[in-house]
Symmetry: C2
Subunit: 416 residues, 2 copies
């Protein structure tokens, strides 16, 4: 028979209380009871359990409100950690975050993603181990690893359904394999979705917001968060803004669609356009044959910031296309906020922010109902890796809401 | 402090049980307990209450499964009714549906939406009264009215934020005013969102599906349903597919955006293109200056069906644009199903279905993860009006899940 859609996501009390404590930073038991509708006795019991597990600590007393002063509780950020691994065509970023989602250690290295996964994954695992050791984080406190990369994916199976970073990665069981090597739970998710949820966990957005994240690294991805949950759709392959069409008459993309945004606004498109502007290419000493187009793109973005009119025109052109697609995403998802995240917004983010904001102000269908703000990510260029780690925290600590998103379990002894 | 996103939608047991009974058609108490995780005693109590209220009736015994045969329960479709009113530029459709969402009476008339709302709403109310009388439906059993029309809207206030059907409707309190005249609760919603949820309530889609509805009448709208709930975004102004751009170099639309789908694929665009095809215009005796372009469009669609090559080329062109935008919507929302609904698919729906399916098969970003099926609506050209009535059923009977979507209450005695 039909399964009720609502019961399928029935929350567990413990996870909910913990999430409320996280969101509030400090909160009293009375406020927790009011917010959840649970009795004071139930709240006291749950909080006692969370304190017993070391996840929550008491944090002094709140201001008296007539009765006796209320004891506040807060997360104990050093109680648990998680690891985020972002795998990109050109680089791999690893972060360790505490229970509050704040990075406590970070490393980045090149080359690994151009290897076949059989060689790359042991190297990634060695880097994770080294980073945990350097940071002095007790492995027993590590909840798991969030591995984030390109879509499309089979998230349940922990498999990439794309010939990226290279052909060999297609259909390789990346998450189960990494879990096996590390002997830690590993979940696979989309990098842009991860970047999106990172904003929420770090308290940068209103908890009730419906917001979108545009993530630009070598490519362009997207994620949408509704009231603290990643919008998942039918298979978690959502909000792929880089592969929506901006031009019905555009050229065919390798993805099968025509006129894809990425081919107009992405870093490689900007570098290609710059190479066709001889003056600019010479002035910035661009190497259009170079492998590392993100470095070339950063050089163009820096020149745009410094006022080079040709560079500025190219970056603004990219931003106009991005804004055009942002209007589509905001019109369909009815967003109230757009976050720009990822390494390719690092240098010229303010140009993108202004142009995208202008397009949304003028062209959003529902602008009479509400406006949409455009802001830079609080997590900057590491947003995807941090978000990957945050997805582990959310999945492990707010259980029941994310049953299908639990990390792939490892063998005996793997779960701390 | 921050409000928990999950507790905000805490379901009420009674509504959930009723929704399960509706979805299952017939179901035993034991199955209800299994599906909800509630105890047998709680289920028995809730079912007893629902039977006492006349909403549910016993329906014989199920097949024995080892123990004693189980008594089945089912909705009592004649226990409650609701009314759906669709207001379009050219026409108004009113339906009365029973508790199962099946239409029991229908009327349609022209002209009313071209009047200012002060004149139109009393006429609509009179038609609702007349239809209820004709159908022999006891007013005491009518839960309310779902008024559906164009976006953008302020759904909470029951106000259209668009100068459609005519300028005078902009910002007019349509829902509160109609509630006052009818002395019944009235909710306002988007016509395409209504058409989308109608499919679910009538059991035409898998309850766990993430599907989109493309609704084409005079314009083109959309709605997305995730596991039985309309995707709402920040202000319920979602999935406006008619006003996403298919061409970044396209002409400016009255909505403020450029290259909007509606101006390429909508009925008025097809009629305009036909008028510029002299042979065709003469053959079909088209009147390009005519007010009622839907009739002209239907004539072109009929000619396309009959094999007229010029008419067929125009309809297929419209379908290709529609398919192009459907790829965008499916890529962003990660849909597994697209439903084509509304009067403008009535004649040439099979042409649209084939062309849209072909585009999705070839161009969807996540097609390696899953396919997307394209199907016609079970509710045909009245999908929006039926959906409006269904939104009332869902809102009134599955309370707690839709607090913000409850109909605007009337004065004393208005709520049955």
């Amino acid at each position: 028979m039909a399964r009720s859609p609502v019961w399928a996501s029935r929350p567990r009390t413990r996870g909910l209380v913990l999430d409320l404590i996280r969101a509030a930073r400090t909160i009293s038991r009375v406020e927790l009871a009011t917010a959840t509708g649970l009795t004071g006795a139930t709240i006291s019991e749950v909080v006692r359990e969370l304190i017993g597990d070391g996840l929550v600590v008491e944090a002094g007393r709140g201001l008296p409100t007539g009765g006796k002063p209320r004891t506040l509780v807060q997360l104990n950020p050093v109680a648990r950690y998680s690891v985020g691994v972002q795998l990109e065509r050109n680089a791999c970023v690893i972060v360790v975050v505490d229970l509050a989602g704040r990075p406590v250690a970070r490393t980045a290295f090149h080359g690994v993603a151009s290897m076949p996964p059989e060689r790359a994954l042991p190297l990634v695992a060695a880097q994770v181990d080294a980073l945990l050791t350097t940071a002095g984080v007790d492995r027993g406190k590590v909840l798991g690893v969030g591995l984030v990369s390109y879509g499309p994916q089979d998230r349940g199976a922990g498999v990439l359904l794309t010939p990226q970073p290279t052909e060999e990665w297609y259909d390789h069981p990346v998450a189960p394999r990494l879990a096996e090597i590390l002997d830690l739970p590993v979940l696979l998710d989309n990098d842009a979705a991860a970047a999106a949820i990172g904003e929420y966990w770090l308290g940068a957005v209103d908890p009730d917001s419906t917001y979108g994240c545009i993530y630009m690294a070598t490519g362009i991805g997207g994620g949408v968060v509704v009231a603290g949950e990643v919008y998942r759709g039918s298979t978690s392959n959502t909000a792929e803004i880089g592969h929506i069409s901006v031009d019905v008459h555009g050229e065919e993309c390798s993805c099968g669609n025509v006129g894809c945004l990425e081919n107009y606004a992405g870093p490689s498109a900007v570098v290609r356009q710059a190479a066709q502007t001889p003056d600019l290419a010479r002035r910035l000493a661009l190497d259009p044959a170079g492998e590392d187009f993100l470095t070339e793109f950063a050089r163009i973005a820096a020149a745009a910031n410094a006022g080079d009119p040709q560079a500025r025109e190219l970056v603004e052109r990219s931003a106009r296309y991005l804004g055009h697609a942002a209007v589509t995403v905001a019109t369909l998802f009815d967003l109230d906020l757009v976050v720009l995240a990822g390494p390719s917004f690092t240098v010229a983010g303010s140009i993108y922010q202004a142009v995208v904001q202008d397009q949304l102000d003028r062209r959003l269908f529902a602008r009479r109902a509400h406006s949409v703000r455009v802001v830079p990510s609080v997590n900057g260029s590491d947003a995807a890796a941090i978000g990957g780690a945050v997805l582990v925290l959310q999945s492990e600590l707010v259980r029941g809401r994310h049953d299908e998103a639990r990390p792939v379990p490892t063998g005996a002894g793997g779960t701390p």
